[in-house]
Amino acid sequence: MEAQAVWPPIRLTLELAGITTVFLLLLGTPLAWWLARTRSRLREPVAALVALPLVLPPTVLGFYLLLALGPEGPGGFVARLFGEPSLAFSFPGLVIGSVIYSLPFAVQPIRGAFEALGNRPLEAAATLRASPWDAFWSVAIPGARSGLVAGAVLGFAHTVGEFGVILMIGGNIPGTTRVLSIAIYDHVELLEWETAHWLSGGLLVFSFAVVSLTLSLTRRREADPA
């Protein structure tokens, strides 16, 4: 009975954080690339826009997302194409919300890494017949690896702990939108502190392992000065 209650949220959390991280990288990388390289006047406004969801309290942001995903919002329109009344209270809705909420944390380090890379490696790639697309994959992405890892780790961690947004747009529905953080929240609300401690402790240990492993594995060895 306990295991039954504990495992679905864990599975759901990992699924959500994993898929969200994938989307964060898919969306955040081109966005960071554009921000790092454009000379458009829109650059800083767009950067600010990406960071904006941050300043809203998660429940409030969640509330607006709820409106956007709900039957009267664009999300509802999309959902109706699939025969659903609303994107809220669904797993895809959670992913959308998490991505919006964690995007700035993914974009920032990636942008920084692209900027630090500079123009020269891309120019070198071009003179070696690499098209911009080829150079992006073969030079920019590996060159910005540590930024991508940092962005993914922050995005993943933030999604795991994210709470207000998910509670609001997910509705705490067991098996569909009830992720671990909400499950822990429920225990807190029930004053079942013991269980909350155990779950939190497990979450911490697990996350610590995942994060420090990722960081150690992928961070490049210190470049020796030469």
């Binding site: 020269r120 490696p121 017949r129 098209s131 073969s138 690896r145 470049a223 030469a226």
Partner: protein, 368 residues
């Protein structure tokens, strides 16, 4: 010099524009199979010119290579990665996330096949990269990085090779060997090589043609001999030199000396290989040439040519004059330049039309 006479169609650029506050307006022709050196002071615009040819900096004007238009006034612009240029940046730009071997492979994988182009093994051998292959660029010395970057550029099989001081950090011996090999490659594959160098020795040794650039403008361009004998290279005056074309009569004998024919006169030079009958280029620096009015006796200088003074060029502000001497009879293009003190010229009563003996230390003759 290859058997096929005359420059083949190569690169032609006519560019104008500005980078920051620096204005450039430079036209340039660089034939295929030849090395064209771009020579000029720091800040003259050499790097800018090379970058514009590669399409990395966009200037106005026209660039074409091998009959293909890379950019023109109508707005045509072939992006850098479709120009097939190899570029050695002034500060080597190896990919720091890849080992040397992977850097080379990066180029090789994207290169088209080209019969006769150097394969990886040859490049690694010539540039002495074997011990470096598994290292990342951060663990290389300055010269090692330059060699690796040159190797990478070569392995992309470019039609136009743009070298921005490619070997400034490589020691003399290796540099000479590498440059000779590059010259051979340029000739055999019909590459356009455009090379920037501050090292006059390197330019003299390496360049078929020289373009002098200063303040964003090409002030002179032409065959190395003409430019080196001309007024263009002012600064290191004492390095003035000419290039002569002679023919091999006899390759190195037991003493290690070869005999050459220079418009009917004999020269003995150290260790030259090659087919008898083949033309060779000799570089003679003005400072290595002495003149005598009577044929000298008992002298260690073995090469004495007969010539006629064409012109005396005063070098104001110095105690020197340069004497232009024709050594191959009236019609010959073989002119020699002698740098002597004005006092000596006066004492020997040198004047145009006067026959003189030209003394060349044999050691000064080398295949450039």
């Amino acid at each position: 010099m290859s058997a096929s006479a005359g420059p083949e169609p190569g690169l032609s650029a006519d560019l104008r524009g500005a980078v920051g506050s620096f204005r450039i307006e430079a036209g340039l022709e660089a034939p295929a199979g030849r090395v064209t050196s771009v020579f000029g002071p720091s800040g003259a615009g050499k790097t800018t010119l090379l970058r514009a040819v590669a399409g990395l900096t966009r200037l106005d004007g026209r660039v074409s290579a091998f009959g293909e238009v890379w950019q023109d006034a109508d707005g045509a612009f072939v992006p850098p990665h479709r120009r097939g240029v190899g570029f050695c940046f002034q500060e080597p730009a190896l990919f720091s996330h890849l080992t040397v071997a992977e850097n080379l492979a990066y180029a090789r994988r994207r290169a088209p096949e080209r019969p006769g182009a150097p394969v990886s093994a040859a490049v690694v051998e010539r540039l002495e990269l074997a011990p470096l292959l598994d290292r990342t660029p951060a663990g290389l010395s300055g010269g090692e990085r330059q060699r690796a970057a040159l190797g990478r550029a070569l392995l992309s099989n470019p039609g136009v090779l743009l070298l921005d001081e490619p070997l400034s950090g490589v020691h003399l011996g290796a540099r000479g060997r590498i440059l000779d090999w590059l010259r051979g490659l340029a000739r055999d594959l019909g590459l356009v090589v455009l090379q920037v160098s501050h090292d006059l020795g390197e330019v003299i040794r390496f360049a078929h043609r020289i373009a002098l650039i200063s303040d964003g403008r090409i002030t002179a361009i032409g065959p190395a001999g003409t430019i080196l004998a001309g007024e263009g290279i002012r600064a290191p005056r004492f390095e003035a030199s000419v290039v002569l074309v002679a023919r091999i009569l006899d390759t190195a004998d037991a003493a290690g000396l070869s005999t050459l024919d220079l418009d009917g006169q004999r020269l003995r030079v150290a260790g030259m290989g090659g087919q008898p009958g083949r033309p060779v280029r000799l570089r003679v620096r003005a400072r290595d040439v002495a003149l005598a009015t009577t044929r000298p006796e008992g002298l260690s200088i073995r090469n004495v040519l007969d010539g006629v003074i064409r012109e005396l060029r005063d070098q104001p502000g110095t105690p020197f004059i340069e004497v232009v001497v024709a050594v191959g009879g009236a019609g010959s293009r073989n002119l020699l330049l002698a740098r002597i003190t004005r006092a000596a010229a006066t004492e020997l009563e040198l004047a145009p039309g006067r026959p003189v003996h030209v003394l060349l230390k044999s050691v000064c003759l080398e295949d450039p």
